[in-house]
């Protein structure tokens, strides 16, 4: 089972990311769960949301405390939340930032595997908005192969309708610009 934790701010679509991911995995014939961290919903406040993906039925309802993958939608979150808390030893952090890897490691002391992409820049260009949830899905898929690229298209079309293509473009651009983690 792979456990993924998304960090973002209320309104940035972290919950939507986890849902699209789970729907794609279920379409691949896998088992998956997506759920938010249940707190008061406030725009701008730090939020978490989770996805579990497994080849076998998932029999747990607790929150994700030891994720395999952490996705950070908003770079400013790093200053207030320890996003690597509980991250598994071989865990991966997929991070939205315009800074380079060395600076991030030095500033925030992150030792885990890191895949970085300037998702805000990509989102601004493709969507005209600093909403990075769909962009970061592209980065996540590239960095971790947690689902196939083709699987995300159906759920994206269904969720976003006429703005799906713009979001898919942002997702594809992030996919091409994100390095594969070893």
């Amino acid at each position: 089972m792979i456990e993924i934790r998304f960090h973002g701010r209320g309104g940035q679509g972290a919950v939507t990311s986890t849902e699209l991911l789970a729907l794609s995995a279920i379409n691949e014939g896998k088992y998956a769960q997506a759920f938010p961290s249940f707190g008061p919903e406030r725009r701008g406040a730090p939020v978490m949301a989770f996805t579990r993906i497994s080849d076998k039925p998932i029999r747990t309802r607790e929150q994700v405390y030891a994720p395999d993958i952490v996705v950070v939608l908003d770079p400013t979150i790093l200053q207030i939340v320890d996003v690597t808390a509980g991250l598994k030893k071989e865990g991966i952090v997929v991070l939205n930032t315009s800074k380079d890897e060395a600076t991030i490691r030095k500033t925030f002391g992150i030792k885990a595997k890191l895949a970085i992409v300037d998702a805000t820049g990509i989102a601004m260009q493709n969507l005209g908005l600093p909403i990075t949830n769909t962009t970061m899905l592209g980065a996540l898929i590239k960095a971790t192969d947690v689902i196939e690229m083709e699987s995300i298209e159906g759920p994206m079309q269904k969720r976003f309708g006429r703005i799906a293509e713009k979001n898919l473009n942002a997702l594809r651009e992030a996919h091409s610009k994100t390095p594969k983690t070893e």
């Binding site: 789970a22 279920i26 769960q33 759920f35 309802r61 405390y65």
Partner: protein, 392 residues
């Protein structure tokens, strides 16, 4: 059988209500509601479900309207949670007294004071004694299946009582997971159209909701009690038939690895799945532990429960609600009471966990089992214990 699709559990419940082809839905669409009635209102507005959707002005009115609708012979549904159920409370008692086969999904959320919208069982336990049949779902598929089962049982001429299907707020209601849905045609193999035995009809007038003067009130109460006790046979038959038609089997008490287990956990609702994972991990460490959970809470499955605990020496009951100033959680107290006059009975220890949305974790179950084991060895423990309280 159909394919499992990824869907939010609340939406899946609305799809079950659609599959049941209800005639009327009454709901008050504000927090603490869920997507269940939101999606139903869309289905009705889009012409995908031929039903009346009435957005009433309060939950009190929702249940009042449900009674009127059911009395007219319509298949009737509503959903609510916590404070909404509390506002409904007065009329919740009237539905079974009028023998109205209403189906209600109760998305379990904590009762406020302090203000809370999160998950526990304090709402349902406040309505424990009002003669509704009460079942509990552990996952989205069960929430779907139990909704169809609820209509089948409620409308059976030998029952004619309302049914409350409980599912945990957030930890179930807001989760996306794979669920197999059914169309009305597929559901129709199991659930036939409602044929009321008696209804409001100007050509054949009847009185519904008469005054229970002291000369008849006691007899009426006795009849309700007889009716809900007798409903168990229909409940079990309806589960059996469900298994025959769709292949998914349900029992009033479900067990997991209880055979030969030294300690058995008792739960209700979605924490049961987390408990199973905890049990697998503990068994890997050589701890002999199993799980038992109530799927049917009202009527209380007394014989099944006594049979299920026959060879068990230690029971650790995990309640999601507390009865202030008593002996702990409602489930624990009933379980102990059910065992009092048994010659051979397990030691029973009560725990209260997961109040107001506090996450119930694998670690918590390990803690509970280790405590129960210690108390069992000593031969006694505290009357009951709250788990995970920060006191410093």
């Amino acid at each position: 059988m159909g394919k499992k699709i990824g869907i939010e559990v609340s939406i899946a419940v609305s799809e079950a209500v659609r599959a049941a082809d209800v005639d009327l839905i009454a709901a008050y669409p504000i927090t603490p509601q869920t997507h269940i009635v939101e999606h139903l209102s869309e289905l009705v507005a889009d012409g995908k479900l031929d039903a009346e959707f009435v957005p009433v002005e309060s939950e009190h009115s929702a249940m009042s309207l449900c009674i009127g609708s059911s009395a007219a012979g319509a298949r009737t549904y509503t959903a609510t949670s916590s404070q909404g159920l509390a506002l409904m409370h007065e009329i919740v008692w009237i539905a079974p007294a009028l023998r109205m086969p209403i189906v209600m999904t109760l998305v379990n959320r904590s009762m406020s004071g302090p203000i809370s919208i999160w998950n526990d069982h304090s709402d349902v336990m406040s309505e424990r004694d009002c003669c509704w049949i009460q079942t509990f779902a552990e996952n989205g598929q069960e929430a779907f299946d139990l909704t169809l089962h609820a209509f089948k049982v409620a409308e059976h001429p030998d029952v004619l009582l309302p049914v409350m299907v409980n599912l945990d707020g957030f930890t179930l209601s807001h989760v996306i997971e794979p669920i197999e849905l059914m169309t009305q045609a597929e559901a129709g193999k199991y659930l036939k159209p409602y044929e009321p035995t008696m209804r409001l009809d100007t050509k054949q007038p009847v009185t519904m909701g008469g005054v229970g003067i002291p000369a008849v009130y006691t007899e009426a109460k006795k009849q309700y009690e007889t009716a809900i006790t007798a409903s168990k046979k229909v409940i079990l038959d309806a589960w059996k038939e469900f298994g025959e038609v769709y292949g998914r089997k349900y029992k009033p008490i479900e067990t997991y690895k209880t055979k030969g287990a030294e300690i058995v956990l008792m739960t209700m609702g979605s924490i049961s799945e987390t408990a199973m994972t905890a049990i697998d991990l503990m068994r890997d460490k050589g701890i002999s532990v199993g799980l038992m959970r109530f799927r049917l809470w009202r009527p209380f499955p007394l014989q099944e429960f006594r049979r299920a605990v026959k060879n068990i020496s230690v029971l650790a009951v995990v309640d999601r609600a507390i009865s202030y100033g008593s002996q702990g959680g409602p489930v624990f107290m009933e379980v102990r009471s059910a065992l009092y006059d048994q010659e051979v009975r397990p030691q029973v220890f009560g725990f209260v966990a997961g109040l107001g949305g506090r996450d119930v974790t694998v670690d918590m179950f390990e803690d509970i089992v280790s405590k129960a084991s210690k108390y069992a060895e000593k031969g006694k423990g505290p009357v009951y214990e709250m788990i995970g309280v920060r006191e410093k």
